[in-house]
């Protein structure tokens, strides 16, 4: 195959040579001296000897007294519910075994899931069992109870009722929950003098009462302006699924779209562009001015006179494509960018988008008429002395408030501040009362998806602690009485005298979506721009004022609410591969000017705040900019969250909260160690993650089957499992990594262990910077076990602990493994993971409740790796054999395949010529990773295919480091 990769060999970034394991990988843990070790060894040997002699002890079986209403199969019960994601619903199917929820999967019937989920949704199950969740109501940090709170509230309640709620304020996060909003509105109706404020740490998706609704499958051209429509957006899963349908070859046919991106910092969406420029927002305006002129018919040369070579190329290519009348185009804008960009995009979409861009009434309560404003308005109200009772629901303003808003000080001025939340967090500590909130898998609720579809959230378990839902809490505040969330939700959806309600209710619970009465009754907004409107112009670029600092939600922790989730902390961040902390992402030019290298600490100062942060040089970052990921640096987030990285919220502020130009940046001479799981940036001239232009693809021939081998061939009877991973649609969202972790009981090892190269993820996403250094792109490549037919690991194991099965899967037998690590040394793909220490959670930890009972929990000294989800293969085989048939294609999906929003991973039987995976492997872009080693991997890849124009990029041999 004439595939070739666009890699470059940077002189400035020497490849890691010599030691295969990172320095320190074979060292003892720092806090274990040799003497202590010998003592422990002696003790464990003695105990092992004693334990070995004893007979296995007898266990107890505890059946039900009365079996539940519908006795589900003891193997697994599935419930359709939804996860709250930025106030919107993301439909999930939750798997419960013996009453323990253990895994979330996407709900195929839900429009914002379509069967897929993302990394955060996958990790949400761990938070259910978080030992740091708030265990009980606290009164002035002393353990109390709901009953005492209710008694105390009754006194205030009668007082407030008499004053029509004067002095009462409610602070919530914006939500789409019809029941919660109904309760809030009922409270405001009962107490007209009460005030309701909303606070969200992150940008809103509504403007002027409308929200955008995009179809990414229709347009031939997509222009992204700082948008992260594929990862951070509430409809991200739907967007990327539609987009991916245009980025893959099917039966060797292509329907590629063209994607351009202008963005200040690398996003998973912008990285999908064929031509992506890292520019400051002001510079993006300049380029758009040129594009506007080109589209309005001006001469291209004069329109682009002020632009650089590569900017001119973007305007030229983009306008040329747009002038072809048959094409439709879509422009998407990040919510962090100021309004003029949105106005430009509206004009663009009115002209080119046809039906791909629609405006719909905003669903989330950001713009609710009854609300009195945001956090700033609340603090003004408090400082004016008009708030005596404040109830904070879910939000954590003490952590997420921008600079200049003294939340802690304001809360001290409130006589009776109450906090309802899942954690005793920064805000809870400033309140007189903290009350535990129920997790979304513990209570009844309802939410709307971004598309408007409503879902009833149903509980899988009783609240672990005394948690209550937000709607229950507001009901208690309003009436002084408690009512179950179940009744409240049903009351919302019971339309009058509905005799058929029970049937419909059960139907909704069954499918996970409420169809009939779904659409909220609001008028459709009128279009703001017409097809003939001219493009608004941006002010020219100001004289450079210094460094631009940008604030963005972190990919893993979002606004910080997931900071106590160890899976997400240990998940390598999409472009940096950093774990357990954030870093100031800095442009290489700026870093060179300040003589900074990775890990050097800078000081960021404004008139009212100062922050110290280590830097990480990120290719593709706009010149003279620094991006600060939000969500880290918690002080009271829990044992996992606290003191990881820095909190950038303290620098937020100003007219445009997501960008600041008045920050003084200087080097302070200190340096910090950042932990990164992939220290090399490029492919070092090798052919690992391949990409092809459309014309190269047209000329490509299918890769030949490998040469002869000395090993005897395996018999191909029964099933032959294999996998194909499409690099054209994998966009590096990491969902598969966490899905695998949740499915296969993969432990978390901690920052220090990752620094020694001991991370345990069975599937990792390698990322390679590639292409023109002025407009680099990142190729993401998921690497699970390749399940080689000539597996190098199998022949070196002295104890037969890794063996080939008759179905071609490379089995790992934990009980045979004695920990020589020969297999890992001989694996060219480095997918084997070794339990250097006992990484299991401490005995008695609630996180064991999340464990998948179908997968053995591994102990110290044992090698492990991807098994192709052999427990799922077995389950599917058992189902099929019981019905006396073969496993059907598509019936069996691995955890990584099931979660993938773009369907980039396909798994199945290679002996079945019609199976999806066999079809995928017939594509001309299919290739084997390190095929020259003749390992004959069962996991193969499809090269990324990009449109021809993007192939013009000069492949300069410059450094990315």
């Amino acid at each position: 195959m004439s595939a070739h990769c666009h890699s470059s060999t940077p002189p400035a970034f020497p490849p890691r040579k010599g030691n295969e394991f990172l320095p320190g990988a074979s060292h003892w843990p720092a806090d274990l001296s040799r003497r202590e070790f010998l003592q422990l060894m002696g003790a464990s040997l003695a105990l092992a000897g004693l334990a070995g002699c004893g007979r296995p002890s007898s266990e107890k079986i505890v059946p039900y007294v009365r079996p539940p209403e519908m006795t589900p199969s003891p193997d697994a019960a599935w419930y359709a519910t939804a996860m709250p994601w930025q106030g919107y619903a993301r439909g999930v199917l939750a798997k419960s075994i013996h009453g323990r929820p253990i895994k979330l999967e996407g709900n195929p019937d839900h429009p914002e899931s379509l069967g897929a989920t993302d990394a955060i949704t996958q990790a949400a199950i761990l938070s259910l069992y978080d030992p740091d969740r708030s265990p009980a109501p606290l009164r002035d940090a002393q353990v109390s109870s709901w009953e005492i709170f209710e008694r105390e509230w009754l006194v205030r309640h009668s007082d407030l009722a008499a004053r029509k709620g004067a002095g009462f304020a409610l602070l919530t996060e914006p939500t789409t929950s019809p029941t919660l909003l109904r309760e809030i509105h009922a409270l405001l109706d009962a107490w007209p003098e009460a005030r309701w404020f909303q606070h969200t740490a992150l940008p809103r998706y509504d403007r002027d009462g409308t929200q955008d609704d995009f179809d990414f499958s229709a347009p031939d051209i997509i222009l992204s302006l700082g948008a992260d429509s594929f990862y951070q957006h509430p409809a991200a899963l739907r967007h990327i699924r539609a987009f991916a349908s245009r980025r893959r070859s099917e039966n060797n046919a292509l329907r590629l779209n063209h994607v351009f991106a202008l963005e200040p910092t690398l996003s998973l969406t912008g990285n999908q562009a064929d031509l992506r420029l890292g520019l400051t927002p002001a510079r993006i305006g300049v380029v758009l001015n040129a594009l506007s002129r080109a589209l309005e018919g001006d001469d291209l040369d004069s329109a682009t006179a002020a632009l650089s070579e590569i900017e001119r190329r973007l305007v030229r290519e983009c306008s040329a494509l747009l002038r072809e009348n048959s094409r439709s185009a879509l422009c998407v804008v990040g919510p962090e960018l100021p309004g003029e960009f949105h106005a430009w995009a509206d004009a663009f979409n009115a002209r080119f988008a046809r039906d791909a861009a629609k405006k719909k009434p905003a669903l989330r309560s950001d713009g609710d008429q009854r609300a009195s404003g945001g956090l700033g308005a609340l603090i003004e109200e408090i400082e004016a002395g008009r708030v005596s009772n404040l109830c904070i629901l879910g939000a954590n303003p003490a952590y997420t408030a921008p600079a200049g808003l003294d939340v802690a000080g304001a809360l001290r001025r409130v006589a009776f501040p109450v906090h309802l939340g899942e954690y005793v967090d920064e805000t809870a500590r400033e309140c007189a009362w903290h009350l535990p909130e129920a997790h979304f898998l513990e209570t009844w609720s309802d939410l709307r998806a971004y598309s408007g579809t409503a879902t009833v959230l149903q509980p899988l378990v009783e609240p672990r602690h005394a948690g209550r839902s937000a709607a229950e809490f507001i009901h208690t505040l309003r009436t002084g009485e408690s009512r179950s969330a179940y009744d409240l939700v049903r009351e919302t959806w019971r339309a009058g005298n509905d005799s058929d309600f029970e049937t419909r209710w059960h139907g909704w619970l069954d499918r996970g979506v409420i169809d009939a009465v779904s659409a909220p009754r609001t008028r459709t907004p009128s279009p703001t721009a017409t097809a003939t409107a001219s493009f608004p112009r941006f002010p020219g670029e100001m004289a450079p004022r210094g460094v631009t600092v940008l604030f963005r939600a972190s990919a893993n922790l979002h606004d910080g609410r997931w900071a106590n989730n160890a899976w997400l902390q240990e998940l390598p961040q999409p472009f940096t591969a950093l774990v357990w902390e954030n870093a100031a992402l800095i442009d290489a030019g700026l870093a060179a000017r300040l003589s900074l290298k990775n890990g050097d600490v800078i000081s960021l100062e404004t008139s009212d705040a100062r922050l110290e942060a280590p830097v990480w040089i990120l290719p593709g970052q706009a010149p003279e900019t620094i991006t600060l990921p939000l969500g880290y640096g918690r002080t009271h987030g829990g044992g996992v969250a606290n003191a990881r990285g820095f909190s950038a919220y303290i620098l937020l502020g100003g007219s445009n909260p997501w960008q600041r130009d008045d920050v003084r940046v200087r080097r302070i001479g200190k340096s910090a160690t950042l932990v990164c799981t992939q220290g090399h940036f490029t492919m070092e001239g090798r052919d690992l993650a391949r990409s092809l232009t459309a014309s190269e693809f047209a000329k490509a021939k299918r890769e030949e089957d490998p040469a002869v081998t000395l090993f005897p061939a395996w018999a191909r009877e029964g099933y032959a499992w294999g996998m194909s991973i499409d690099l054209g649609t994998c966009f590096g969202c990491n969902a598969c990594v966490i899905a695998c972790q949740a499915e296969n009981n993969i432990p978390v090892v901690g920052r220090e262990q990752v620094a020694r190269g001991r991370e345990m993820h069975w599937i990792r996403i390698d990322r390679y910077f590639d292409g023109d250094p002025a407009a680099p792109r990142v190729l993401h490549q998921p690497i699970p076990c390749m399940h080689c037919e000539n597996a190098p690991c199998e022949v070196v194991c002295p104890v037969g602990a890794t063996v080939h099965t008759s179905e071609g899967v490379n089995d790992m037998v934990y009980n045979r493994c004695i920990g020589t690590r020969y297999c890992s040394n001989n694996c060219p793909y480095k997918v084997r993971r070794f339990n250097f220490l006992d990484y299991r959670a401490p005995e008695g930890s609630p996180v064991y409740l999340q464990s998948n009972p179908d997968v053995t929990v591994r102990e110290r000294g044992v090698m492990e790796k991807c098994t192709y989800c052999t427990q799922r293969i077995n389950a599917a085989r058992i189902t099929a054999e019981k019905e006396n048939r073969r496993i059907r294609d598509g019936e069996l999906r691995t955890a990584c395949q099931q979660v993938c929003p773009t369907e980039a991973i396909v798994f199945g039987d290679l002996n079945d010529p019609s199976s999806h995976v066999t079809q995928r492997k017939q594509e001309r872009s299919s290739y084997r990773l390190l095929g020259e080693l003749n390992t004959r991997p069962r996991t193969t890849y499809l090269a990324k295919i990009v449109p021809d124009s993007a192939g013009e990029s000069p492949r300069a041999q410059e450094s990315f480091a």
């Binding site: 007979r55 296995p56 007898s58 266990e59 107890k60 079986i61 505890v62 059946p63 039900y64 007294v65 009365r66 079996p67 006795t71 199969s73 003891p74 193997d75 009877e717 029964g718 099933y719 063996v803 099965t805 008759s806 179905e807 899967v809 089995d811 037998v813 934990y814 009980n815 179908d854 997968v855 053995t856 929990v857 098994t867 052999t870 427990q871 293969i873 077995n874 085989r877 058992i878 099929a880 054999e881 019981k882 006396n884 048939r885 073969r886």
Partner: protein
């Protein structure tokens, strides 16, 4: 040959004859002791004592399979409801006992723990008779579907007054059948029978077949 000159230090044996004998004896002893220890340990781990075969653990209720399954001929699936659908056979809820015992013998002292469980809504805690290590994943439903009778592993439960473990359930036993399951298969109607009949050659042809034969792959049971 010249007699050895005992005074010549280079000709004199290094050790006395007694010491040499003692060492020889010790070497023989060592071999004997090691062999005996090895054989003993082997037999200990394969003895019914270690595997608890034949042992009926104490139970909260003196439940008799002989009475219920043998004399009354209640089907296994009446209590072990999920044996055909799921990995675990399922243990009867207190409610299941009360199907009959709310009417029959409800005030018998033997049934007092059952009545107490129903009254106080506190489950009975049975002692496990048959157990497998955590790294073994056994599925009842597929074995039953492929014609492996309950009695193959659990023995003649219908004859047991107190339920005892019938077989060691060691990997050796599992793998012997997984290598060649056909001799163990019985006709579908006989799976739950107390004394399943061995099918003859003609009947064997009608037994459920396997679509693949991966039964000796490690991952069939270990994952």
């Amino acid at each position: 040959m010249e007699p050895a000159d005992n005074r010549d230090p280079f000709r004199r044996p290094l050790f006395t004859a007694r010491a040499t004998h003692a060492v020889r004896l010790a070497l023989v002893g060592l071999v004997l002791v090691t062999t005996t220890a090895g054989v003993s340990v082997y037999h200990y781990y394969h003895s019914p004592y270690w595997s608890r075969v034949g042992l009926a653990p104490d139970q909260p209720v003196l439940f008799s399979h002989r009475h219920h399954a043998g004399e009354l001929r209640i089907d296994c699936r009446f209590c072990h409801t999920s044996v055909e659908t799921s990995a675990s056979a399922g243990m009867p809820s207190t409610q299941t006992c009360l199907t009959c015992h709310s009417q029959l013998f409800h005030d018998a002292p033997m049934l007092a723990p059952v009545m107490a469980s129903a009254e106080k809504n506190r489950p009975l805690a049975w002692s496990r008779v048959n157990t497998l290590p955590d790294h073994v994943h056994f599925n009842h439903s597929i074995h039953v579907a492929k014609g492996i009778a309950c009695a193959s592993c659990h023995g003649e439960v219908a004859d047991m007054a107190l339920t005892a473990k019938a077989r060691a359930l060691s990997m050796r036993e599992c793998i012997a059948c997984h290598r060649d399951p056909a001799p163990q298969q019985v006709a579908a109607g006989d799976v739950f029978s107390a004394h399943p009949a061995r099918p003859d050659a003609a009947a064997r042809l009608r037994l459920p077949a396997l679509h693949a034969r991966p039964l000796t792959n490690c991952s069939t049971c270990h994952h």
